[in-house]
């Protein structure tokens, strides 16, 4: 009991942690809310040239020297698709989440360490956007989830997203090793861009499927459930009854049997 009491966080700690989280969250908000605006508005010739150089150095092996796409050479397998028309949003999403450049060919590009600075990503985005018109990086206002309606966003999420990403955005399986990734830790801009550009197996949710306001509501919902306290205790990964059943068998039955062995051994 003493050990338990000693480990229990003190109320002051919780409050401090909350304040810290709020400050960090605000800082992140400011960072992400200001940058895209400058990027999408002013795509100067310098920026496009810088982006082209970066692209040719890091992406051309698969996507081709002029982003025209390449084949692997075996059958109809594509090494990298043509990028004209994918838009700045696709570049910002793929490179900004570390999915591109891919370390190795695989079924699906996993989220990993981001290889470029945000400036460089904007430069590459400007270059790709200069090839053909495509979806732009969303503005700060479009992803300002504080203005969104989480309840409406929740409905949109359950109807359109939960079937693959799970009710809590924990992710889920698709066919043949493909998967819908967990949405935990995704930035509002990246969530918006994913809906807009449909990366990998994901469908495109254009503005006629989910309106600009609706997309913001979805982001508001995801942010609301990620910020809410864990009512009722540990979430066990928010994976539903499978993890609950495993917990009952391993932890629950384990404790019961331990207690029974102890009682059985006790001299009467």
């Amino acid at each position: 009991m003493n050990a338990l009491a000693a480990r229990r966080p003190r109320p002051a700690t919780t409050v401090l942690l909350l304040i810290l989280a709020l400050v960090l969250g605000a800082a992140a908000l400011v960072t992400f809310a200001t940058r895209p605006a400058s990027a999408s508005s002013a795509a100067s010739g310098d920026q496009i040239a810088q982006g082209k150089a970066l692209f040719q150095a890091s992406c051309a092996s698969c996507h081709g020297i002029n982003a025209q796409g390449t084949m692997t050479g075996s059958g109809t397998n594509v090494a990298g698709p043509a990028l004209a028309g994918v838009g700045a949003a696709a570049v910002d999403f793929q490179v900004g989440t570390g999915r591109m450049p891919m370390a190795a060919p695989s079924i699906q590009a996993p989220r990993s360490k981001v290889q470029f600075s945000q400036e460089q990503i904007y430069a590459m985005a400007a270059y790709i956007a200069s090839l053909a018109p495509g979806p732009a990086i969303p503005t700060a206002a479009q992803v300002d989830f504080a203005k969104g309606n989480a309840a409406v966003g929740g409905e949109i999420f359950r109807v359109n997203c939960a079937m693959c990403h799970n009710f809590a955005g924990s992710g889920g399986a698709l066919t043949r090793g493909k998967y819908a990734p967990s949405l935990a830790g995704s930035t509002p801009t990246h969530i918006y861009e994913a809906m807009l550009t449909g990366p990998q197996s994901m469908p495109i949710f254009s503005d006629s499927d989910i309106s600009v306001v609706g997309k913001r509501d979805v982001i508001a919902y995801l942010k609301a459930i990620s910020k809410e306290p864990t009512q009722g205790g540990s979430r066990l990964g928010s994976l539903g009854p499978v993890s609950e059943g495993l917990f009952a068998w391993v932890f629950g039955l384990g404790l019961m049997v331990a207690a029974a062995v102890w009682l059985g051994k006790k001299a009467a």
Partner: protein, 589 residues
């Protein structure tokens, strides 16, 4: 009942006082009061006899005998917490708009059932912990029922005279999962609604009757507004009523038949070695209730279960990734997931959905029928019609243990298949590969489990024989005065030896003559042949226990100091079951 005994040298007149009991000290006020109440009740009900019988009942001590208690207490916790939930739960599909304190659902249209469950979670004081206690206790109930069932099966406790209780237990286990599923479906959240939708699909896959059946249960097309109140009646009244009645019968039968016990020195088919209910078991079992309740409360306080606010209200169009039933229904879901899709046929313009019906509808009755019928099958095969109150050590029934493990493996394949999508995500594997693994595994793994288990059992039996005959190798090499060497074997005493030699020797049944003296074919010849074959399958490579003669023969040789003791032991063995002369029998007391 002690009386004063008279020493022989006392005068005859002293015998007048024979049979007198010494004056007892006056009972304390408390005891007098209690006695008064007990007497009052006994005068009016005559309960003293029955209560005395129960209180003197002796139960053997072993942790595995308490798994059934865990099930019983979990069920009581479910009943208690369930009553609390009924005070607030509204079993209605009536539509309402949410205005409670959970912000991400503000203003959303939902059913009364879902809103009231949200209110239990967020508005009712202590509601969430009671809801979680109810759900965790339900999971633990079925977990404990299963574990208890494994214990009863692997120790052969289902044998005569306990077959009826095995059948009752099988029905209880089936009722438990149906009760659990009804409860899981009540809150009308996205997950439970998806479960009901699946259930409706299962019903529809019934050949010919399907759509009528589904319309009858749901009172029209899915989802309708009838299913929630109907499930509520089933969940709080119908099944709990049957469950409690059968459970009471289960317990009464255990009390009437004495409890089984593990073999050991002094334990026979005629006695029960243990402690009486009063005071020992009343205290132990009473205390264990609070331990079980405490563990469930601990789980409920620390770990979320079924976060219905996250799933959102049910709406037939959405579905969430990772839609699974609670674990005990997982095997049926898994069977559905691994049944190949090409089993759907379209004869004469009708659809026959065997791809759904086989796994989702067929499995449950088949599984429970086999489970319930097993004691009768084994009894027929072994031809053993005697009563058994001493348990088998699982290794001493290698084929039964192997069959049990094979059945558990098949069940496990079905159950884990229900989590194929979760495994695919967590293990970074292809869900198709996992599904194919389970499809093949269903046919490969159970026989493999049977074979491995049986070999392990036989090896353990040989090891037991070895232990009895040669005891423990000490690793100490001794040189005799004549220059010879031998390894000292540490002897095992008769108490250690007893569990290793107490069981009976077994052999396959002999095939009776197929024709009688006049050459007329026996009408039962075919079934007898099958029986002989099965008996052969059960017992053909049986490893039988060491007989007293073998034991005596095994101990001449260099350990001179041990031999007299061993011969002395052998003198003390007498057969208790005369019909099995090769069994070593019980030590005389």
């Amino acid at each position: 009942m002690s009386t004063a005994t008279t020493p022989a040298h006392q005068r005859p007149a002293d015998a007048l006082r024979d049979g007198d009991t010494a004056a007892r000290p006056a009972p304390s006020t408390g005891a007098r009061r209690l006695g008064g109440v007990a007497g009052w009740v006994d005068d009016r009900t005559g309960a003293a006899k029955g209560v005395t019988y129960l209180m003197k009942k002796v139960f053997p001590d072993h942790w595995s005998f308490m798994l059934g208690e865990v099930a019983m207490y979990s069920m009581i916790v479910c009943l208690l917490s369930g009553v609390f939930l009924t005070f607030w739960f509204v079993p209605s599909a009536g539509e309402t708009i949410y205005h409670g304190s959970y912000a991400p659902l503000q203003g959303i249209q939902m059913s009364e059932a879902y809103r009231s469950t949200l209110d239990i979670s967020f508005e009712v004081r202590g509601g969430l912990i009671i809801r979680q206690i109810h759900h965790w206790a339900a999971l633990m109930f079925v977990v404990a029922v299963s574990a208890h069932m494994f214990r009863v099966f692997f120790t052969g406790a289902f044998r005569k005279p306990r077959e009826i209780n095995w059948v009752i237990g099988t029905i209880l286990s089936l009722l438990a999962i149906v009760e659990g599923f009804a409860g899981y479906s009540l809150p009308d959240d996205l997950l439970s609604g998806t479960g009901l939708r699946a259930m409706e699909g299962f019903m529809q896959s019934t050949p010919v009757l399907g759509s009528y059946l589904a319309y009858m249960v749901f009172d029209g097309p899915f989802p309708g507004s009838a299913i929630i109140p109907r499930l509520y009646s089933v969940h709080v009244l119908l099944i709990p009523g049957i469950l409690i009645a059968l459970f009471t019968a289960h317990i009464v039968i255990v009390a009437l038949q004495k409890h089984t016990q593990y073999p050991g020195p002094g334990k026979t088919e005629q006695n029960v070695v243990g402690f009486p209910v009063l005071p020992v078991y009343a205290a132990k079992a009473g205390g264990f209730f609070f331990i079980v309740f405490g563990i469930i409360a601990l789980m409920s306080a620390l770990v979320q279960i079924n976060p219905i606010w996250g799933y959102g209200p049910y709406d037939p169009s959405p579905v969430t990734a990772g839609s699974q039933p609670d674990w005990y229904m997982g095997f049926a879901d898994g069977a559905l997931r691994i049944t190949p899709g090409w089993l759907e046929f379209h004869p004469f313009g009708y659809t026959l959905s065997l791809n759904v019906a086989l796994g989702a509808l067929g499995l449950i009755p088949v599984m429970y029928t086999i489970t319930g019928a097993y004691p009768f099958l084994e009894r027929w095969v072994t031809g053993d019609t005697r009563e058994h109150h001493l348990l088998d050590r699982p290794r001493n029934a290698p084929v039964r243990t192997g069959l049990g493990m094979a059945a558990m493996t098949a069940y496990g394949v079905f159950m884990f298949a229900a989590g194929n999508d979760i495994m695919a995500v967590l293990l970074h594997m292809s869900i198709n590969d996992i599904t194919h693994f389970f499809q093949v595994g269903l046919f490969v793994l159970p026989p493999l489990a049977f074979w491995v288990t049986k070999r392990i059992c036989l090896s353990l039996q040989r090891r037991d024989r070895d232990m009895v005959l040669h005891a423990r190798e000490s690793g100490t090499i001794i040189r005799t005065a004549h220059g010879g060497y031998f390894e000292r074997h540490d002897g095992i005493d008769e108490f250690e030896r007893w569990p290793l030699v107490q069981h009976e020797a077994v052999a396959p049944l002999e095939l009776p003559a197929g024709t009688d003296a006049n050459g007329v074919a026996s009408p039962t010849a075919r079934s007898e042949r099958l029986r002989a074959r099965l008996s052969h399958f059960y017992f053909k490579d049986a490893v039988n226990p060491v007989t007293p003669a073998e034991l005596a023969a095994a101990h001449p040789g260099p350990h001179e100091e041990e031999v007299p003791a061993l011969e002395h032991d052998a003198d003390h063995f007498v057969g208790i079951e005369q019909d099995h002369a090769d069994g070593v029998g019980a030590p005389r007391h």
